[in-house]
Symmetry: D3
Subunit: 131 residues, 6 copies
């Protein structure tokens, strides 16, 4: 794929994931403050390449991303991706269920951090409590 | 739910997940060697209660479990659950895609460990290479 | 054991652990906001079943819990459990010693986070400095 | 304390912890192959200083060490310390209980790794099954 | 080396690392509030012994320390050591590059946390943006 | 940069890092068995893009990579990169020093795993003991 096509796809995928919901500074802006060229390469690789593959639908990909970030107790990143998950139509009840399931593999500290982040994001989106 | 019903559901869910594919000693047998009562309680809680909830389908649950275990670099447990994922009908191409996506959140050591475990399990099941 | 007995034991153990000292919202309240049934099952399993076993005394169990949470750098959960440890009579000097010992197994970032949490809890309880 | 006294205490504490049970190469021997001076300093600091403090008894210290190493899924180190725990008189039933309790804070992969290591060590010591 | 010489070297190395730049309470002060003797032993071992060895120059040591702390997502400790790295003359562009490289081994959550901490420290030192 | 140039640079950097010393299957071969296109994209991004940047020299980059992998206890990946570090001319005494320094940030289990991997690689290369 040529560079223009990747740039276009990066932008489209980024918009679908991060274009609405809770307002947050995407990490891309910080990367760019350190190194503009590398920021673009990272963004094109992660968003334009990996995230734009169609083997998984975007909701399937976000379910997996949220599961991983919860298990890793990466709260700031989870905040970004739980919002993206809701943006692409993931069912909030299923997301909560995954966060409870984290108990089995990563223990209760991970469950509690993930549910706390999730509740905050739902509140900021005006979608709390889950119907 | 009464105790008999939970025992029955524990057994049914365990059979669907672990009843075929690669032969492995389930951790339950080791738990029982240490403490029979606690082993039963753990099994009933995890398999009979958490894993038998229907908010997520079993394939959805296994996709999430495999994502978490790969991110946590828990190879032995992943071996068990990637086999279970295939048993309940998860698409192996989607599982591989999730393991590649681990790169973004947990780095390449986690990707490489997960793909290695997955390839071993597929070989033992006679399902390698993925069609 | 029947369900009423487990509920009773869950409540008794929870009261001993979390009934005094620093005021914190127990995770149980958040679980319940997401799923009342699952929250009760989790609570009955962790507090009423695991934590009510008598192979370890409650102080022994809390020493182990604080050791693990410090090593895992799970600060929020440690805050809850260091307070519970003091509630059930753990010696604060021994708790501090365990947090220093974390150096050997998990490094100084874990030591520093644990001691920081511990000092905060002791201050809020009016038990700082340790006599 | 003068250097001779620390050397003596290092040796005494090391003997109590690692002097019997399962035969293993202590990490100290490997450190020394890389740097003899640093190996001695590390050993004197960890074993002669930290581990020889009397705020915790050696069995209390080993219970905490085993809890941490299980939670961190550090199997090789756990093998060393679970053997040391048995050498200084820790109750094997209490050790098993701590490994089950790891479920709450670090999830089942950590429980399964710890119980597996523990069972191996007990077998090598001829102390399996636990009476 | 005699005790006076180690104390002197501990102080000299500590001054070079932490004596200027962003004002932070060094963990040593907190250790001392818990146990003065152990605080001195820890400080003499880590700063006076390990950190004063000359196999690595101080800038090389700080590059490695920052790489590890970023990979471990130990933000508070990283803040201390990124400031120390700048104090001993590490090139900020190389530090940023290391934080981007963390992507490969520990994933983007670790990258984002490290760059965020680094940017804050540079701002407080009046050295932002990097020239 | 056009695609041919990146392919060429990917190959050159890969050869310098992994072209001699201990014989190991590079993860790239496994990636390709799962997905040829994605394997090439990953390789071009990590090796051809990130690793070919010149802000850090290759030896500086490998020192940082080894520090991170040791801290993360990622032994298989460390094996690959410690060999690459020696291939690009890193001083083995400095590498050992970094692995000892891991003690401060990630504890002794990480030190012991890293030194064990390092000693194995040095032996296979016929470069043990370090002169």
């Amino acid at each position: 794929m040529d560079d223009e096509a990747i740039k276009k796809r990066t932008k489209e995928t980024a918009d679908r994931l991060f274009g609405k919901g809770v307002k947050m500074d995407p990490p891309y802006l910080m990367w760019r403050e350190f190194d503009r060229g590398l920021a673009n390469d990272l963004s094109k690789f992660i968003t334009g390449n990996l995230y734009s593959r169609t083997v998984l639908t975007l909701p399937e990909r976000q379910m997996a991303a949220c599961a991983m970030l919860a298990a890793l107790r990466a709260g700031d990143e989870l905040r970004l991706h739980v919002n993206a998950a809701l943006n692409v139509g993931c069912d909030p009840t299923k997301l909560a269920e995954i966060f409870f399931q984290v108990a089995t593999y990563a223990g209760m500290p991970a469950v509690n951090e993930a549910l706390g982040v999730f509740r905050d994001v739902l509140k900021e989106r005006g979608e709390w409590p889950i119907k």
